[in-house]
């Protein structure tokens, strides 16, 4: 395939263009899920094709095909599309400088999930479900696994030729219990399909779905009979899985430089940030340090090179609370006169790369969990996301969680509440952060379904964090009668 792609690059070089890149991809996915002990799905999906991006007369064009016998026709289509783009063009499209690279990169893993037998995977899920059903009075149980292997080849007219082999594994379990006109759900290790990583089947084994099934089930049952979460202004502590989404929505998206420049205005929206905020805005409190790290071992947003052939990097985003960096692509970085931060990523061969998160990580602090909650008079410890919503400039957010544990006089009381909900304004919220747990509590969560772009693309991103404390946060919603 490398030869075919190199031939295509040579063909495009003869077409009076400013730039071209060609991306080949072969994606193999497997989804296994059970519900009430029965196999719900065992689906395999393989997709293979080539996407060709060109800049001609300063205007962009892109064409993709799954028919590997139509590569030259597809290249010509990309040129036609660029010609059309040039009819409604402002400044010429330019790309930030980068090195020409020839390299091979692969995810390190111990156990290829595609070689683990069908029966073993199904049995794991059924055992985890049986354990949940044995331990509590539940309405429904379910469990799922997802695996993905992607072979990518990138070549461009600047001389790069890069091949990558990426492997992902993940899964989780879910228990639901019915209370009075209410359904409560508890998941492990996190909601909406569980946790995912760039890793092999060992990641699934390490999650110990069966070992954690009992507690998950018992908490679901308790939640069904729990009190509603109180409404008011409280100190809250978020666990790493909820923090993953908090970071994602209120830091990851607003620091995407294409949103700042308005490229996503008609769909996902823009950002409350402007270029002038760089090195000026106090985004959070002094204990907030955030990096975009595409190099961290096992992160779902980890890779060797992005889809413009830029090496994976660790970029500071927030340092001691100060906003210091955007997520960038070549096309956006050049407008700031900097090199790309390597965050230009495409959902498969058929889509153009957009600025996407890599692993946006909140760095650990110095507290043990006991120390973190020790000076909270009355507060709540919230785990696992249940719902999320944020405005188009990424200021007003509202999150629901599965469970709230009561904190009183610096200790967990053992009491739980159902339907916890909290809301805030992004910079105010992050400025209220008064403590983060230490490295021992730091954990990565992978989100495989971050949506952006038209046509819609899904990105696979990661977020690492340790439980963090936020003071005086509005919990619940006030109802105006």
């Amino acid at each position: 395939m490398q030869e075919k792609i190199a031939g295509l690059i040579e063909y495009l070089e003869g077409k009076d263009i400013d730039y071209a890149d060609v991306r080949y991809g072969k994606i193999e996915e497997q989804a296994v899920s059970t519900e009430e002990g029965e196999l719900q799905e065992f689906d395999n999906n393989t997709s293979e094709g080539v996407g060709i991006r060109v800049i001609k007369n300063g205007a962009p064009g892109f064409a993709a095909t799954g028919d590997l016998d139509r590569l030259h026709q597809t290249a010509l289509k990309a040129l036609d599309v660029a010609d059309a783009s040039s009819r409604v063009k402002g400044k010429n499209m330019e790309l930030a400088e980068k090195e020409s690279i020839k390299d091979y990169y692969e995810t390190s893993y111990e156990k290829d999930p595609f070689t683990v037998s069908t029966g073993e995977k199904i049995e794991l899920l059924r055992e985890a479900e049986a354990k949940m059903q044995d331990e509590a009075d539940l309405f429904k149980t379910s469990a799922s696994l997802r695996f993905r292997r992607e072979n990518r080849i990138f070549a461009d007219t600047e001389g790069s030729l890069i091949e990558q082999e990426l492997m992902e594994s993940g899964g989780g379990i879910e228990a639901s219990a019915v209370g009075e006109d209410d359904l409560q759900v508890r998941t492990y290790p996190c909601s909406f399909g569980g946790n995912h990583a760039k890793a092999g089947y060992e990641f699934v084994e390490d999650m110990d779905l069966i070992g954690n099934a009992g507690e998950t089930a018992r908490e679901a049952e308790k939640l069904a009979g729990a009190e509603e979460c109180p409404h008011g202004e409280f100190d809250i502590v978020l666990d790493s899985s909820q923090l993953a989404l908090q970071i994602h929505e209120s830091i990851g998206h607003p620091v995407e430089l294409d949103r700042v420049f308005g490229s996503e205005e008609a769909y996902a929206g823009t950002s409350f940030l402007s270029v002038e905020d760089l090195n000026e805005l106090q985004y959070g409190s002094e204990c907030v340090d955030v990096v975009a790290d595409a190099t961290v071992e096992g992160g779902l947003g980890t890779f060797g090179y992005d889809d413009e052939g830029v090496p994976a990097q660790r970029i500071p985003i927030i340092e001691s609370g100060e906003f210091v960096g955007f997520l960038t692509s070549r096309e956006t970085a050049v407008r700031l006169g900097i090199s790309s931060g390597g965050a230009s990523r495409a959902d498969g061969w058929e889509n153009i790369p957009l600025i996407r998160m890599t692993n946006i990580n909140l760095l650990p602090g110095e507290y043990s969990f006991e120390e973190l909650i020790s000076d909270i008079d009355y507060g709540l410890y919230l785990e696992n996301n249940r719902s999320w919503s944020i405005d188009d400039r990424r200021l007003n957010f509202q999150f629901g969680c599965e469970i709230a544990y009561e904190i009183e006089n610096g200790r967990l009381t053992g009491k739980i509440f159902k339907n916890p909900l909290y809301t805030g304004i992004t910079p105010q919220f992050w400025r209220s952060c008064t403590g983060i747990c230490d490295n021992e509590h730091w954990q990565m969560y992978g989100l495989p379904n971050c949506g952006k772009g038209q046509p819609g693309q899904r990105a696979r991103v990661g977020h690492g964090s340790a439980p963090a404390r936020f003071n005086n946060i509005e919990v619940g919603v006030e109802r105006d009668e």
């Binding site: 899920s33 519900e35 029965e38 196999l39 719900q40 799905e41 689906d43 395999n44 999906n45 393989t46 997709s47 094709g49 205007a59 962009p60 064009g61 892109f62 064409a63 993709a64 095909t65 799954g66 028919d67 289509k77 990309a78 036609d80 599309v81 660029a82 010609d83 059309a84 783009s85 009819r87 409604v88 063009k89 402002g90 037998s117 069908t118 029966g119 199904i122 429904k140 639901s176 006109d181 209410d182 359904l183 308005g262 205005e265 008609a266 769909y267 058929e350 153009i352 719902s387 999320w388 919503s389 405005d391 188009d392 007003n396 509202q398 339907n419 304004i425 038209q454 046509p455 105006d480």
Partner: protein
């Protein structure tokens, strides 16, 4: 791809089924999409792909695979893998049947004029014209797309299905760097005569100008007038979380235990109807079942749910032909049609002492499915109504609202209804006036 070519692929693969039950789906599309922002084209793409899904069943077991590599050697290899996986798969309690009637459903809705006008050069020309006509100081962002899709299904019980569709879609946000406020318009159509991008650009521009210099208002309870796009957002989510048999079976639905009860105001009648001339015709679902029309809510009373094969079997019902292709999703109504009322948008405004006119919602999500609590934000045109007149635009607000209460608080519906894009083609909905809609937050520091 035409019907004959699609059936040839299906027949070739079914010929390798041996002693197994097999269903094969061919799903292809060709898409051109032009994106613009800051009044220039910044992304412009063409995609083509053709996938085949093969589902193998035997002895209450089933497995499936999807591939876009259609060489015989590859497809036979996929089927061999399915045989092996089927052996290792546990049997289910009940056999899930394949659809076996009617023998054939075929539908082709291709407007050649639409395809001619919306190639990459045509799309660029339409965008250029729309941008040229913007008010001074305003820029446009959005997308203009043409998708040519085809879907064919056949199985070892002898059914054949073929559908070919061309769909055009457009959306735009119009805004200004100098003035706060924005406007929005969106449309989808299968025919060029229904696809007036010029009018949509103009409507969004008018809305942008009208919504300039918004004021902040306090969150709280307001009477709202929902334009059809805003109503479609709420109903689309309710459809997904509550109008399916599977969501009721899973206990997630706000209709769990309430079928046959009066759940909404009696002014509300809501249907799912893919045959309605104002929606898109999708005559069969992803399982090959003929799509039925549904009476979801009749005069406020909950009547019928959407089923796929599996959820129908569990309920002891027949499938209604609403499968999306994954049994985890169940059957979802996609073509919502609401009966109109007797009012008009003008009457709704003039009869409002204090309220909000809402163009659309953004980032709606489910807070509590069982209680039908949704949250989200207003966007691209929210207007304050005082003493029967629009007095100003307002900054966006967050709502958090129990929708069972909201649809019981319906004051009036417009007699005129509008096509608005939904989950798969157009819905057909009126304006809705609702009292006591709960706004719970501001979108500013």
């Amino acid at each position: 791809m035409n019907k004959r070519e699609a059936y040839m692929i299906l027949d070739r693969i079914l010929g390798w089924s041996g002693k197994y039950d097999m269903q094969v789906t061919v799903d292809g599309n060709e898409k051109g999409l032009t994106r613009f922002a800051g009044s220039e084209i910044h992304q412009n793409i063409y995609q083509e792909d053709l996938e085949v899904k093969i589902e193998l069943r035997r002895d209450k077991k089933r497995v499936s695979t999807t591939t876009n590599q259609l060489a015989e050697e590859n497809l036979r290899g996929e089927i061999r893998n399915l045989h092996r996986e089927l052996e290792e798969t546990p049997a289910r309690k009940k056999e899930l049947p394949l659809i076996d009637s009617p023998d054939e459903i075929s539908s082709e809705e291709n407007d050649s004029e639409l395809a001619e006008k919306l190639d990459e050069a045509g799309r660029a020309g339409i965008v250029a014209e729309g941008i040229e006509n913007l008010p001074d100081g305003y820029t446009a962002a959005g997308s203009l797309a043409l998708e040519k899709g085809y879907l064919a299904i056949a199985n070892t019980r002898g059914i054949r299905r073929f559908m070919s569709r061309d769909k055009a879609s457009f959306n735009t946000v119009i805004s200004s760097e100098q003035v706060e406020g924005s406007g929005y318009a969106e449309l989808e159509a299968e025919k060029l005569s229904d696809f007036d991008v010029e009018e949509a650009f103009a409507a969004a521009a008018d809305k942008a100008v009208d919504s300039s210099d918004p004021e902040s208002i306090s969150p709280g309870s307001y009477t709202v007038i929902l334009e059809p796009l805003a109503a479609a957002e709420l109903l689309g989510y309710l459809s997904f979380i509550g109008f399916s048999g599977r969501s009721v079976q899973q206990g997630r639905s706000f209709l769990s235990g309430r079928i046959g009860d009066k759940v909404w105001d009696e002014k509300i009648s809501l249907y799912d109807d893919c045959q309605h001339e104002q929606t898109f015709s999708l005559p069969f679902d992803m399982e090959g079942a003929e799509r039925q029309s549904l009476t979801i809510i009749e005069d406020g009373v909950s009547r019928e749910l959407a089923y796929d094969l599996e959820s129908a079997m569990e309920a002891g019902e027949e499938t209604t032909g609403h499968a999306l292709g994954s049994s985890r999703a169940g059957g979802i109504p996609l073509h919502l049609v609401m009966s109109g009322g007797e009012s008009s948008p003008e009457e709704m405004i003039s009869s409002t002492e204090k309220g909000l006119l809402i163009t659309r919602f953004h980032y709606t999500n489910v807070v509590n499915p069982r209680q039908a609590v949704l949250t989200g934000l207003t966007r691209d045109g929210t207007f304050l109504i005082e003493e029967g007149e629009i007095t100003n635009s307002v900054r966006d607000l967050r709502y958090t609202q129990n929708m069972m209460e909201a649809f019981n608080n319906v004051i009036s519906l417009s007699s005129k209804r509008f096509q608005v894009p939904g989950l798969a083609g157009n819905n057909y909905l009126p304006y809705l006036k609702i009292s006591d809609f709960q706004f719970t937050g501001l979108t500013e520091e």
